[in-house]
Amino acid sequence: MRYLPKSPAERQEMLAAIGAKSIDELFSSIPERFRLREALNIPGPYSETEVIQYFKDRAAENSNGYTSFLGAGVYNHLRSVVTDVIIQRGEFLTSYTPYQAEITQGTLQAIFEFQTLMCQLTGQEVANASMYDGSTATTEAVLMAERLTSRRRVLVARSVHPEYRDVLKTYAKNSGLRVEEIPFTTSGTVDARALQATLKDDVAAVVVQSPNFFGAIESYATLADFTHAAGAMFVVAIAEGVSLGLVKPPAEADIVAMEGQSFGLPPSYGGPFAGVIASRDKFVRQMPGRLAGQTTDSEGQRGFVLTLATREQHIRREKATSNICTNQALCALAATVHLTLLGKEGLREMAEQNLSKAQFALSELLKISGVRRTFDAPFFNEFTVELPRSVKLVNAELLREKIIGPLALGTAYPELTKRALVCVTETTTRAEMERFAGALKRALERPI
């Protein structure tokens, strides 16, 4: 087997050194009746060529050749080849969590740079070394708010990503948290009056997302004022990080939970991505997840270490702030390289292109008879339109023209049938948008 670096003779030599007659002897502590005597029934062994062929065959059964207008928490953005070159360097790819600081300064400094970039983007003072993804980061932000307030009630906007809310509910169910939902207005943003009416001094956190699941940009000031007046934590989830190149960060937030997928990570059928928690310095000791900190060595040189580990499970066991052990270090590194490549101007320009293309796409779609804009709040690169027919039926028509149509909102929001969430990014060309508009027009004109 090509991955195993021993010859049969070496194996024998090693067994002899141990004083064992056979390899079986080394497994003598496993009771005989539980020893597997027949070979596992799994495919293989495959040569490298066969492994590649298997996955190429599977890839061919997917969506190659289709143009997609899906976003909803996973976005297709340009990525430089440099990002993949860096994260495939074995020194990053095949290194462990940097507990041995002297020989992992590369990873540690990169995490420190990641934390800095996340602070700059979100307008917060401290950011962790990453969480699993946006959904779990949002949940962990709520748990952090619970620890900070010692309260057990959470208000989450219905305009937060449905799957983020689902994950929060899974965690809440078992930790005695009560999760209640706040409706949205006809503009597609949080209903501030409903929020105010529900807020009491037993609320740990108010969770909103911006741009929210409908693509609408929330106005934070009033929501934050109401939240803070009740002594609760204002938690802002961000699923589309590129928006921060152009949209004001949530300065009013106590905790920001962000999905980092948009920063150089491919959609990859939903993962792996990188979640982020950013917050205020004063809350750092209740933050979950790893943190890299700057320090000096015994000769006074600058260096980095994992720090404040007394919050973490390997030290605190059942008293830890979270059970999370891993971060998504390589994904965070990809985000760091990607954002460094983009830089100040590149990120702004990418964000402007998203905005411009989304504006263009909306104007093209509104030229079609029966297509109506819904939710009139400002948007970034995603917006909601109402179609005169079922979105699912329309999408089936679009598929015939090799277009993966917008997300049907009715699945997650039964009251929003016929509404479609359209996403375009800088990767969507004008020709593709025009083709989409043309195909949509034809689909709507077709007799049912």
């Binding site: 070979a39 969506s63 462990y96 700057q294 040189q301 390589l330 400002p378």
Partner: protein, 503 residues
């Protein structure tokens, strides 16, 4: 230079500041294609109150600077690609590069989780085949690939137990955890809403079965066991342990962190385990990447199947696969979308490369651990003498007499060209030295490691200072961790304008 250091030589490495310190306005490393639609006015489209001015402090550098910056940083890391990484419990094995290649294919990396399932059959077939392989390896009945990491898998597993017991009327209060367990186990139990009761190991480091019999009451939901234990020892009475739990209606959870000792040789499902997680980034070779991403699938017996987190992969008529978002008894969703798909792809690529021959990997891993044990026994104290599986745990008891502890020895290994073993773990061994070579090390590399460990033992006896102040060859010396925690500096900030006097 110490002539006993055979594997490593000093060599120059480059200095490199923070990327923010290299920034200069107007430089850039990425250009977008020209905008092909009319440019929108952000202030009008977003509203002036939403519009952000530039991001203060964001880097402005060129492409070559980015490449050099991160390449230089990378050279400051130790990695499996450079040599043996004997971190006990972490299974730092070779990460095959073909796995990286296939995870990046067009049609794999490019797929959106909400695209129509008829256009995702390739992705779903990958998930299905991986499920089947892992079920065969574990002898379990059902599986979820959703959890993003080992600890996430533990949580999912305990929530399954909670849901199952709850459905019978009482989710119960306590989870029993041996004192040798990973720290994630107790932290997870609390997240899942359970109290933790720690149980002491008996004198050979195994679960004290008689004591367990007394502890398992109607309040106990489950026992979380690691097998082989963190001492690298197989829990021989595990079937009996399972019976004790089952007799009282409690379940047996197995932390699969150490599956690299069992794959193809014995199967947890046959041993009486009810639910377990697998760390694909350990046993199944997906890269650790400096601390993630991982994946922590949870395999289970039939009784827990109805409670699996959504979405559930099902086979429809005609063999078409689908992810179903709703199940009445499901514990709910544990993560957005369909698991860490890219990691799952890599794990399947690993399994396909071995096929049933994966047993040879297990055998080689156990062979390496025992070879190292044989050569270091006596040089270092072996606190528990039962047979070792894939890892061996020594202690620093002999060296301690000279004031040299496990961390010192670990740090000295760096000078010899190796990554340290695991130090602060398992907690039941004072001064633990937990060594897991994995199957990826040749006899030559094992021999070099043994030589290095012997040479360090000799140094500890004759010139302990050199060990206590190690490492001596790294670009930074031991770092001030206390200072880092006392006054945390967790981000770069632009230097305040310096006054003349300060210069």
């Amino acid at each position: 230079m110490n002539s006993k250091i055979k594997k490593a030589l000093r060599h120059t490495n480059q200095k490199e500041g923070l990327i923010f310190e290299k920034s200069s306005p107007g430089k850039r490393a990425f250009e977008l294609p020209p905008l092909d639609v009319p440019a929108a006015d952000p202030a009008r489209a977003l509203g002036a109150n939403h519009r952000r001015a530039g991001i203060e402090g964001f880097p402005e550098v060129s492409e070559i600077e980015v490449l050099r910056h991160f390449t230089r940083l990378s050279t400051w890391n130790y990695a499996i690609d450079l040599g043996m990484y004997p971190l006990g419990s972490c299974t730092m094995k070779y990460n095959p590069r073909v796995n990286e290649f296939v995870a990046r294919l067009d049609g794999i990396a490019t797929e959106h989780p909400y695209q129509p399932q008829e256009l995702s059959q390739g992705c779903l077939k990958i998930l299905r085949l991986l499920e089947e392989c892992l079920l065969e390896i574990t002898a379990m009945d059902a599986i979820t690939l959703q959890p993003a990491a080992g600890a996430h898998g533990e949580m999912t597993g305990l929530l399954l137990i909670r849901a199952y017991l709850g459905k019978q009327g009482n989710p119960r209060k306590k989870v029993l955890i041996p004192d040798s367990a990973h720290g994630t186990n107790p932290a997870t139990a609390v997240i899942a809403g359970y109290e933790v009761e720690n149980i002491k190991s008996e004198s050979h480091g195994q679960i004290d079965v008689d004591k367990l019999r007394d502890l398992v009451t109607g309040d106990v939901a489950a026992l979380m066991i690691t097998n082989p234990s963190t001492l690298g020892i197989f829990e021989q009475r595990i079937p009996e342990i399972a019976e004790i739990l089952h007799a009282k209606g409690a379940l047996l959870y197995m932390d699969g962190a150490n599956m690299n000792a069992l794959t193809g040789v014995t199967r947890p499902g046959d041993l009486g385990v009810d639910v377990m997680h697998l760390n694909l980034h350990k046993t199944f070779s997906t890269p650790h990447g400096g601390g993630g991403p991982g994946a922590g699938p949870v395999a289970m017996k039939k009784i827990l199947e109805p409670f699996r987190p959504v979405p559930i992969l099902v086979e429809k008529e005609g063999g078409r696969l689908a992810l179903e978002p709703v199940r009445p008894d499901s514990i709910g969703r544990v993560k957005a979308f369909a698991g860490n798909f890219g990691v799952l792809v890599r794990a399947l690529a690993y399994i396909l490369a071995y096929g049933p021959g994966v047993r040879q990997a297990t055998e080689d891993a156990v062979l390496n651990a025992n070879y190292i044990r044989k050569h270091l026994e006596g040089v270092y104290e072996l606190p528990y003498s039962l047979p070792s599986m894939h890892e061996v745990v020594f202690s620093d008891a002999i060296q301690k007499k000279n004031g040299v502890n496990t961390v010192d020895i670990a740090k000295r290994l760096i000078d010899y060209g190796f990554h340290p073993y695991t130090t602060a773990f398992p907690l039941i061994v004072a001064g633990a030295m937990m060594i897991e070579p994995t199957e990826s090390e040749s006899k030559e590399e094992c021999d070099l490691f043994i030589d290095a460990m012997k040479a360090i033992a000799e140094e500890a006896a004759t010139k302990p200072e050199i060990v206590k102040t190690a490492p001596h060859t790294t670009r930074v010396r031991r770092l001030d961790e206390v200072g880092a925690a006392r006054k945390p500096i967790l981000r770069w900030k632009p230097a305040a304008p310096r006054s003349e006097a300060a210069d």
